[in-house]
């Protein structure tokens, strides 16, 4: 027992020394937890930003001119003026996402209360911008017309929307955290998987198995060392990059989050070992990584809401560690939830990790 712990410790220290000598890998890790997080928070703009818009003004009145100028950055690019016959070819070519058409005699009809029609053409293949953008256009047009008519309309009831946890819906808060979450998973899998394959290709793994060292000890040593590296990096990234530099307000307890990360890392590193047991060589590991990691990332609920996926995909994804990871990250970091809420994903991660670990353990020797 004592010897087991000592062996796990010794082999883990060896992993850490090896990693320290690999400058490229260190650079990659640092990049993933600093620049990549910052870039991600900036790259993905708020869902509508700099949308391309054109105006067909067949009225050429003061009102239509004002309305045409009302579309301003950062939400919209300055509106281009085109003619009616140009609408189809330009939208077909994808040049404009929105085209607003003011009919002839628009201003006159507005003033005389005839309620003229403004046509808004939306390129609905641009999913991210289509419906929100159309909503904003409607708001802008209504607002400008009300201003123009100097009218105050009283409605039966007012709609007051309060966005909790992120009142202004700042996209960067979310993207930076999602990026961190993805990087944690990716690095944990790659680091352990590649470490195991490298050791197998160098022949040292075979040597270890001739010595009084068990497969369990080898696997545990890889898990704890890589866990330590990623955990340290994510703690640093959380405090210094996300909280201090990007000034993302964190609702919940960071220690609780890190405890969750540790549990997730157990599952992710076990997955890395499992993939390394399945793959025969590095290229195969690379292919497997693509096939496993991309779906895990896209369907975890971090990119698009889980509830809008088909039920069978939701069920399959329950077996992926990232699903539970993303779920507790959102709960802790944004909603400030405590252990009474997140114990369920924690438990699920432990189970997934345990299963992967035991499967790898039984196939470890055969995979030599």
């Amino acid at each position: 027992m004592m010897q087991t712990i000592k062996n796990i410790y010794q082999l883990g220290v060896k992993e850490l020394i090896s990693l320290c000598r690999d400058w490229l890998m260190i650079a990659l890790i640092v990049y993933c937890f600093t620049f990549a997080v910052v870039t991600a928070s900036r790259a993905q703009p708020d869902s509508i930003s700099r949308a391309t818009i054109a105006v067909v003004d067949e009225d050429n009145s003061q009102l239509s001119g004002t309305l045409g100028d009302a579309f301003i950055p950062p939400m919209f690019m300055p509106a281009a003026h085109i003619t009616r016959p140009e609408i189809d070819p330009l939208m077909d070519a994808g040049r404009y996402t929105f085209v607003v058409v003011f009919p002839p005699d628009f201003e006159k009809n507005v003033l005389s209360g005839k309620g003229p029609e403004i046509q808004v053409n939306v390129d609905a293949t641009r999913m991210t911008q289509a419906s929100t953008g159309a909503g904003y256009i409607q708001q802008i047009l209504n607002g400008e017309i009300s201003k123009y008519l100097r009218k105050k309309s009283a409605s039966a009831a007012n709609c007051v929307i309060r966005n909790r946890f992120n009142p202004n819906l700042t996209q960067s808060w979310f993207s930076s955290i999602v990026q961190l979450v993805n990087n944690i998973t990716m690095l944990a899998i790659i680091l352990t998987g590649a470490a195991l394959i490298r050791e197998r290709e160098n022949g040292t793994l075979e040597h270890l198995l001739v010595m009084p060292v068990t497969a369990f000890e080898i696997m545990m040593s890889k898990i704890w060392s890589m866990m330590a590296v990623v955990l340290l990096a994510s703690a640093g990234s959380m405090y210094f990059v996300i909280k201090m530099y990007l000034e993302v307000p964190i609702e919940g307890s960071i220690p609780l989050f890190l405890a969750g990360v540790a549990i997730h890392l157990f599952a992710a590193t076990s997955l890395g070992i499992f993939l390394a047991c399945v793959a025969r060589n590095m290229p195969q590991l690379g292919m497997l990584l693509i096939l496993v990691f991309i779906p895990m990332q896209m369907l975890s609920g971090g990119m698009t809401p889980r509830e809008s996926m088909p039920v069978w995909i939701q069920n399959i994804m329950l077996a992926a560690p990232t699903t539970h990871f993303v779920s507790f990250c959102q709960s802790i970091l944004f909603r400030g939830a405590g252990i009474e809420v997140v114990w369920k994903p924690f438990l699920m991660l432990l189970i997934i990790g345990g299963v992967l670990f035991s499967i790898s353990l039984t196939s470890f020797r055969k995979s030599l």
Partner: protein, 920 residues
């Protein structure tokens, strides 16, 4: 052989002056000058890593020159035109078993490939292949994949492939390393007979076996990038005054390298008890599927004995060792160490075992001392003893002074000693050594054996060792010879020689092998005699060989790549299957429709009006109602857990206030933790609220008070669903990434495997080679885009509204671009893992984020916009969406189609130009 100053008879085939070549800081060749005479069999001797291979790769033009002058077959090798001209006249067989062969291809297919490269027509190829394989004994194995041949046969096939075009200069780099003695002798007989057939041919051979060097016409001894001596074998022996070349070579080495070297003697084995066996194996058998790697091998090894295990590569030596160590369970039979059965799980046995593999199994990133400490601790030595033990090892194995160096920086000889130190640090009783001396120079090998003998005789360690070297075998107490999984003799070297009636151990072994495998013996020798020898037709150096682009050579590359792809169905299916999986994932995953949102109502009014308001929401298809919330605390708790995405709070007196026109506030609490989702919810909520308002305002039959009506037309995708918009966008992404990775891998794999050498040393040009390799993947890419399109129409129900012809045409063009980008990536990378990452980063990121899949290119800024506007996926996306969603035809899409067409020559050109035709 002549030094540069003396002018020998006839023109030299190769001559070089002040040739220097560095790999980084290491000088592989250090200003060497020499003329090599034509029509001779010239041997390059010396241990590994002294510059032999470097010199040969320069001579064949495989490696680019750095400094100095080199003339081969009468022309300057710096001149690319001359290289192209002499290329068909030089044959090169690189180091390593079957380095220039394709293992999944059969013998026949390999030969056909090389025949086509040299421009022979079908009849000519048939004639030459039959003649060569008959004379080498490979004829019966024409249908066998090259990877399944034994080491000796691989080398023979390699030789056949080199000889198929009747070269004037044959260059062989260590052709017999790892080959058993019989196959070695047959190989040299073959070379001799070929030399007889073609007297005008010059042959240059590198070898580490000094005993082979005896048969060459001339020798060049090399060490540390310099030439030590040249001359015929007899001259060299005479100059050094030694009896054999091994000793002569050591004599030639400078004083510093020779220090500490003395003739080895092995003290006799003294056994107290005759039947004190350390290792016992009985009927040990191991099968892999139908293949029997080890076939009923039995032996008994006494305590303190040095037991040698001999045989060619792949004869089952390593498998036997792995069974002894418990790494591999035996299929039949059993093995015992110290009277206890071997069991992979037994820690006790492992504590008494020391093991050293061919690969030395040291951790390259740990210092020498750290390595030793780690091994000591893993063997469970008490912590207090560890430092003392490490010191003792450093002392005993003479590795003090380098204890802080990294093993990866050490020369082989030192690595070998360090590895042995690590294997015996725990004082094992049995030491198992798997080819510990291959690739190590003679001085280091003798030093190593000194340690082995000391361990055996002084410490009574039982040693089990495998080797290729006959002089090492002679030092063992007993040896066993393995061939094709069977053990043939097992006795002391002296007894074996005596029993066979031969003078040397090597002859004795050849004798044994011939007896065991009469087929192998017959095949080479007599066949050559029956052959009506003679170069009846010279190599067909017709105009085809020099044409800029030869369809036949292109077809040869294409045909070979297709065969390889077909032999590796796992790769192809994984890629196709992967595309389908990822299509599903992305089709459903990148889903902007927000549905099934959970919401609940906090109704503080409980009037008809408030209930009517709540019902209004319940009717929406976007929302799913959960049990009502009763107070703020509950609201807080349920939103925190993520159970509720939206809570609608209707204030007290809501109904009354509405009726009296006091405009009460309805509060919507939205979970903002995922901003894009929250934004969508906000939109839905506003719309529902407006609807409720207008439904109310209709009730009192008041005239519509709106100033304008805004009519929104969602074009191309009236329901604003994600799927119809995403699926046409995902197809270009997948048909870019996967074919690009496959094409890139196909080239880099050759670089890693070494068969890229065929590009360097045969007349095939870069464009023929790359276009040939690209074609199968091009077809694959077109196939997969067809498959994905069919999936889109059938499974995802996204109809094609526009011109199918345009879609097909642009898919083909896009496939060319995608595979071309893979070739481009392959030109700058050397390892497979690097190329996978590079291609993934280079395709996935731009294609997903910059090309208008989600955010239009026009909305991007700066560099992102620039990349987006030149990246091919941008245009393919326009075409794909145009055809699928917008019902467009050729005339509407001529711009993006033109852009794609323009990219083909640019990308292909860059990919071909950047690929190197020589190693540098």
């Amino acid at each position: 052989m002549s030094a540069p100053s003396e002018t020998g008879a006839g023109d030299p085939v190769v001559s070089f002056r002040e040739l220097t070549l560095c790999y980084g800081k290491v000088r592989a060749l250090d200003g060497v000058s020499l003329d090599i005479p034509a029509r001779r069999l010239v041997g390059l001797i010396g241990p590994d890593g002294v510059g032999k291979s470097t010199l040969l790769s320069l001579i064949t033009g495989a490696h680019a020159l750095q400094q100095g002058e080199l003339k081969v077959l009468g022309g300057d090798m710096r001149d690319a035109g001359h290289r192209d001209r002499v290329c068909p006249r030089i044959a090169y067989m690189p180091q390593g078993l079957g380095k220039n062969l394709y293992f999944t291809l059969t013998v026949e297919e390999n030969l056909q490939f090389f025949g086509r490269l040299f421009g022979h027509n079908a009849a000519e190829r048939r004639k030459r292949i039959d003649r060569l394989t008959r004379s080498t004994g490979l004829y019966p194995f024409l249908d066998r994949p090259a990877g399944k041949l034994s080491g000796g046969m691989k080398q023979k096939l390699g030789l056949c492939c080199s000889l198929i075009h009747d070269p004037d200069l044959l260059v062989l780099d260590e052709p017999t390393t790892g080959v058993d003695p019989l196959a070695r002798r047959q190989f040299w007989d073959l070379v001799d007979s070929i030399k007889l057939e073609h007297p005008q041919m010059s042959v240059i051979v590198a070898t580490a076996y000094m005993d082979e060097a005896q048969r060459f016409d001339d020798l060049i001894a090399m060490d540390e990038g310099k030439i030590l001596a040249t001359g015929t074998p007899a001259e060299i022996l005479a100059r050094t005054g030694k009896a054999d070349l091994d000793a002569a070579f050591i004599q030639l080495l400078p004083e510093s390298r020779r220090s500490g070297h003395k003739e080895l003697t092995v003290p006799p084995l003294v056994c107290e008890k005759e039947d004190d066996y350390a290792i016992v194996a009985e009927g040990l058998t191991r099968k892999f599927g139908s293949f029997t790697a080890v076939d009923h091998v039995s032996f008994k090894i006494r305590r303190g004995e040095i037991f040698g295990f001999l045989g060619s590569n792949g004869c089952g030596k390593t498998t036997t060792m792995r069974m002894l160590t418990g790494l591999l369970p035996a299929t039949e039979g059993h093995a015992e160490l110290f009277g206890r059965p071997v069991d992979g799980g037994s820690m006790e046995i492992r504590r008494h075992l020391g093991y050293m593999t061919q690969l030395f199994s040291l951790y390259g990133d740990l210092t020498v001392r750290q390595n030793l400490m780690l091994y000591a601790r893993l063997y469970g030595l008490p912590e207090a003893e560890v430092p003392e033990r490490v010191e003792r090892m450093l002392e005993r194995f003479q590795i003090r002074g380098i204890e802080h160096a990294l093993p990866k920086d050490l020369p082989l000889g030192l690595k070998q000693r360090l590895s042995l130190a690590a294997a015996v640090i725990h004082d094992p009783d049995i030491l198992i050594l798997d080819e510990p001396t291959s690739g190590v120079d003679p001085v280091a090998r003798d030093l190593f054996w000194e340690l082995i003998i000391e361990l055996s005789r002084k410490d009574k360690v039982t040693i089990f060792i495998t080797t290729h070297f006959m002089n090492e075998a002679g030092r063992c107490d007993r040896i066993s010879l393995m061939h094709a999984g069977k053990s043939f003799v097992c006795d002391s070297p002296e007894n074996i020689i005596a029993a066979r009636g031969t003078t040397t151990l090597e002859e004795a072994f050849i004798n044994v092998l011939e007896e065991a495998d009469p087929e192998a013996n017959k095949s080479s020798g007599d066949a050559i005699r029956t052959e009506e020898a003679g170069p009846e037709t010279g190599a067909e150096t017709g105009p085809e060989c020099f044409r800029l682009f030869s369809i036949r050579r292109w077809y040869s590359c294409f045909w070979r790549e297709t065969l390889e792809l077909m032999r590796d169905p796992i790769r192809a299916t994984l890629a196709l299957f992967g595309a389908i999986i990822l299509m599903f994932v992305m089709g459903y995953g990148i889903n902007m429709d927000v549905e099934n949102l959970t919401y609940s109502v906090l109704d503080r009014d409980r009037t008809r009006t408030s209930q009517n308001y709540a019902l209004n929401i319940a009717g929406s298809r976007y929302f799913t109602e959960r049990a009502p919330v009763h107070d703020y605390q509950e609201l807080d708790r349920r939103m925190k857990s993520g159970e509720l995405s939206l809570v609608i709070e209707l204030p007290p007196r809501f109904g009354r206030d509405v009726d009296s026109g006091r405009s009460p506030d309805v509060s919507f609490w939205v979970d903002g933790s995922m901003p894009s989702r929250a934004e969508t919810i906000d939109g839905y909520v506003k719309a529902i609220h407006d609807e409720w308002l207008s439904s109310r305002s209709k009730n009192p039959s008041k005239k519509n008070s709106k100033d304008v009506s805004i009519q929104t037309r969602y074009r191309y995708n009236p329901d604003v669903r994600s799927l119809p918009a995403m699926v046409p966008a995902v197809i270009p992404l997948l048909t870019l990434m996967i074919p690009a990775i496959l094409a890139a891998l196909s080239v880099v794999r050759e670089k890693e495997m070494g068969s890229i050498i065929n590009l360097y040393v045969t007349p095939v040009t870069r464009s023929e080679f790359l276009l040939g390799k690209q074609c199968p993947y091009l077809l694959f890419a077109v196939l997969s885009s067809l498959l994905l399109t069919v999936m889109a129409v059938t499974i995802f129900d996204v109809p094609i509204k526009g011109s199918i012809f345009v879609l097909l045409l642009s898919s083909v063009m896009y496939a060319v671009v995608a595979t071309g980008m893979g070739l481009l990536a392959s030109s700058v990378t050397k390892s497979q893992i690097a190329v996978i990452f590079l291609t993934m980063m280079g395709t996935l990121l731009p294609a997903c984020q910059l090309c208008g899949m989600t955010t239009p290119v026009e909305s991007q800024e700066g560099i992102a916009r620039f990349i987006g506007s030149i990246y091919p996926t941008t245009y393919m996306l326009l075409i794909s969406r145009g055809v699928f969603n917008k019902a467009l035809y050729f005339s509407d899409l001529n711009l993006p189609i033109g852009a794609l067409a323009l990219m083909i020559p640019v990308i292909m050109g860059a990919g071909i130009m950047l690929q190197k035709k020589q190693e540098s």
